[in-house]
């Protein structure tokens, strides 16, 4: 905006000392920047601030929407949500789901990116693998859910293959057994999300100057030492940014869980997102759902704050 203010027409600049400018052009000049900002500000207020403020307001009232005259109840809803054992299960599951997903995304993404960046492969082979590896990221969540529900069905392809290879002797109920469901949905999420890391890290790898590796070779570094002392430090800013973004996205994952397990069996795959959804749309407890949503918002804001601080320190 400052650039615009500076490039204002020359007629407004440095009038003769005795000449007093008329009022209207001065006002016009003052408000011009705000007029430019107005559409964005309006959209932000209507689409972001207002709904967020409403949800925060709901979380301090007794049951809103279904109750025509809700009253202020202070922190009652927060106490109710935080003391609900299912909420704790949801927090625990979300932490596991997010932690394992992000770590695996990073390891797999880096591994595949390094494979694709290898000088041993010809360009055509690289292009082929790049397409194959990036495929999972091109599917929408609905397709991923349907695909894996079929693959992991007790009578599905995965069990058939494992059976044929002699690794299992009876069918495993991957998504339906309380012992395996959380691991299974985490695995699906890892499969669906690693290509994004891979593509970003590949771009990072291609940007590392060759002379760094040559210098390391001259110093007698082996492959592992080069990876630890050249590749990783060069990729660090990308890895940290990606990891923070992935944590924010994965904690908010809803569609995949809902379409594969719905939070079950029992509540072994209940996440904060499914917990909030159930409060709102199957119990119609919109106030409690708003409370749970506000808690998720606060947690996400902590992560967003870390992300912004990291970005700022980079700049």
């Amino acid at each position: 905006m400052s650039a615009l203010a500076q490039s204002a027409p020359p007629s407004h600049r440095d009038p003769a000392p005795t000449y007093r400018r008329p009022l209207w052009p001065r006002v016009q000049r003052r408000i011009t920047p705000y007029l430019y900002l107005a559409p964005t500000v309006l959209l932000l207020v209507v689409l972001m601030l207002l709904p967020i403020a409403m949800v925060i307001g709901y979380s301090f009232q007794d049951n809103v929407i279904t109750n025509p005259n809700p009253v202020f109840v202070g922190l009652d809803n927060y106490v109710k949500v935080v003391t609900d054992p299912v909420f704790f299960t949801a927090v625990k599951n979300t932490a596991y789901f997010t932690g394992v997903s992000v770590a695996a995304h990073m390891v797999l993404g880096l591994t595949f990116a390094m494979m694709l960046n290898s000088p041993l492969l010809k360009n055509r082979t690289k292009a082929l693998f790049r397409v194959v590896y990036v495929l999972p990221w091109l599917f929408t969540v609905a397709i991923i859910a349907v695909l894996w529900r079929m693959l992991l069905n007790p009578n599905g392809v995965v069990n058939y293959l494992l059976h044929t290879l002699g690794l299992i002797h009876q069918n495993v109920e991957w998504l339906a057994s309380p012992a395996t469901a959380l691991h299974a949905v985490t695995f699906i999420n890892i499969w669906a999300g690693y290509p994004f890391f891979m593509v970003s890290l590949l771009a990072g790898l291609q940007g590392i100057p060759k002379d760094l590796y040559e210098a390391a070779t001259v110093d007698g570094a082996n492959a592992v030492q080069k990876f630890r002392n050249v590749t990783l430090p060069q990729l660090r800013p990308i890895i940290i940014s990606m990891a923070l973004l992935d944590v924010i996205w994965t904690t908010q994952q809803f569609a995949l869980i809902w379409m594969t397990t719905g939070g079950g069996p029992i509540n072994v795959t209940e996440m904060l997102s499914t917990y909030t959804y159930k409060l709102a749309f199957s119990s119609y407890k919109f106030s409690l759902a708003s409370t749970s949503a506000v808690i998720v918002l606060l947690l996400s804001m902590v992560l967003a704050f870390l992300y912004v601080r990291h970005q700022r320190s980079r700049d």
Partner: protein, 429 residues
């Protein structure tokens, strides 16, 4: 293009977008003008999910006939799939902008009544001198009718004839012990076949209603006492214990805990399970997907020695009138038209369902013979679905489903599961 010109153009585009967004937001709240004074034209909105599920143009045809008979009433159909209709109706109830006439599911009635979003139909029937003895059922809250089931879909037992005969079973079971024996025999065939299939997914928990509680209702049992939860009674305990016995005997198809209704139908259609409880509405789908599958339908088995009328689970296309409607008298005309003997027969024929008017008879001459057999089962039993009209009924099913999963998984006993579910239900009530 200079920087300034580009900015001005961007500004214009952005302000255009804001103006458009605001116009759309504002126009949502306006209602088309329609006059209600007698003799003048009245426009009724009718929101439902039925039109997409009926043959193309069928519901519009019924409405056209109604408009011909009532030239001063125009009916505007607002149709969408079930889930989006539900969202639309819930939002309308919250904001007081519900369509005049709404398609209802029994599970929503209690909440809408609490919100005072749907009107008291008993009063309308009285004012219009309507004889309600012709209705098969009504959903009433505190003695006032809020919903009338227009057509009903029943849930009998489906049996795979080929699998049963391979297992040496000649007729579908009619008692629980016969069912257990038959299920064991079918499972013993091997090759991943199972005797029974039980969908217990928690995101769509209607398996609790259709596949579990149906055992209780079929033997004349009830999960309620004086309108309050009564899950620990003898009938529910024995029904739930029977499901647990089937589970322990290993005759239930794998994947139950996250299985949904459509997965259940798929397992049956692919010939992997011998028996399932399912909606008649799926007959055409099963025949289309697997034309070679031979199957029969029969009443759900009852407890050994039970001789009373068998409750048969059902789901309805219900109808109600919005409290905020300015044209309740005209809306009632539409409701009573849809419930009249001939129109109701026609609707039930079109929907492959059973009529909500006692005097109506669907015409099965062009449909599958299984439908007329199911109609006999329906007439011999009583429609039973105690979840209709309960508060947050989907959540109640989920609460029970969660406890049932714990019991089946061996984490708690059946009686503890029922006690815990009872406590949760009491809290929801």
């Amino acid at each position: 293009m200079s920087n300034g010109a580009r900015t001005v153009r961007g500004l214009l585009v952005a302000s255009g977008a804001v103006a458009l967004a605001l116009t759309t937001a504002c126009s949502g709240s306006s209602n088309p003008a329609s006059t209600s004074a007698s003799g003048e034209k009245v426009t009724l909105e009718f929101a439902q999910w039925w039109e997409p599920e009926l043959p193309a143009g069928a519901l519009q045809g019924v409405i056209d006939d109604f408009q011909k008979a009532n030239p001063n009433i125009t009916v505007k159909l607002l149709s969408g799939p079930y889930a989006s209709t539900k969202e639309q109706v819930v939002a309308g109830a919250a904001s007081g902008t519900m369509s005049d006439v709404v398609g209802l599911d029994g599970a929503w009635v209690s909440d809408f009544t609490k919100q005072n979003a749907i009107t008291d139909l008993s009063a309308l029937m009285k004012d219009n001198g309507y004889d309600d003895s012709q209705l098969v059922s009504q959903v009433a809250i505190d003695g006032k009718t809020r919903m009338i089931p227009v057509v009903n879909f029943v849930y009998p037992l489906f049996t795979n004839d080929d699998l049963l005969s391979q297992a040496g079973v000649s007729a579908p079971p009619s008692t629980r012990s016969q069912f257990m024996d038959d299920a064991k025999k079918v499972t013993a065939l091997g090759n991943n076949t199972a005797g029974w299939v039980l969908p217990l997914s928690l995101d769509a928990p209607n398996g609790v209603q259709n596949d579990v509680m149906s055992w209780v209702w079929a033997s004349g049992g009830s999960m309620l006492k004086d309108g309050k939860p009564d899950l620990t009674n003898k009938a529910v305990t024995s029904g739930t214990q029977f499901v647990k016995d089937l589970w322990d005997a290993g005759v239930v198809a794998q994947g139950s805990f996250t299985m949904k209704e459509q997965d259940k139908v798929e397992e049956f259609t692919n010939g992997r399970v011998g028996m399932m409880i399912d909606s008649l509405a799926h007959i055409n789908l099963i025949k289309k997907e697997n034309p070679n599958l031979k199957f029969s339908i029969s009443a759900i088995p009852a407890e050994d020695g039970y001789t009373g009328a068998r409750g048969i689970p059902y789901a309805s296309w219900g109808i109600g009138i919005a409290e905020n409607s300015k044209h309740k008298a005209e809306a009632w005309k539409l409701v009573s038209y849809l419930m009249s003997k001939d129109v109701n027969s026609k609707l039930s024929t079109l929907a492959n369902a059973f009529p909500g008017n006692k005097e109506s008879t669907p015409d099965f001459s062009n449909s599958d013979p299984l439908f007329s057999k199911a109609f006999d089962i329906y007439k011999a039993g009583t429609p039973a679905n105690e979840f209709v009209g309960l508060p947050v009924s989907e959540q109640l099913m989920r609460d029970y489903g969660e406890q049932l999963q714990l019991a089946l998984n061996g984490d708690e006993s059946v009686s503890d599961a029922l006690k815990n579910a009872q406590a949760k239900w009491v809290a929801e009530f």
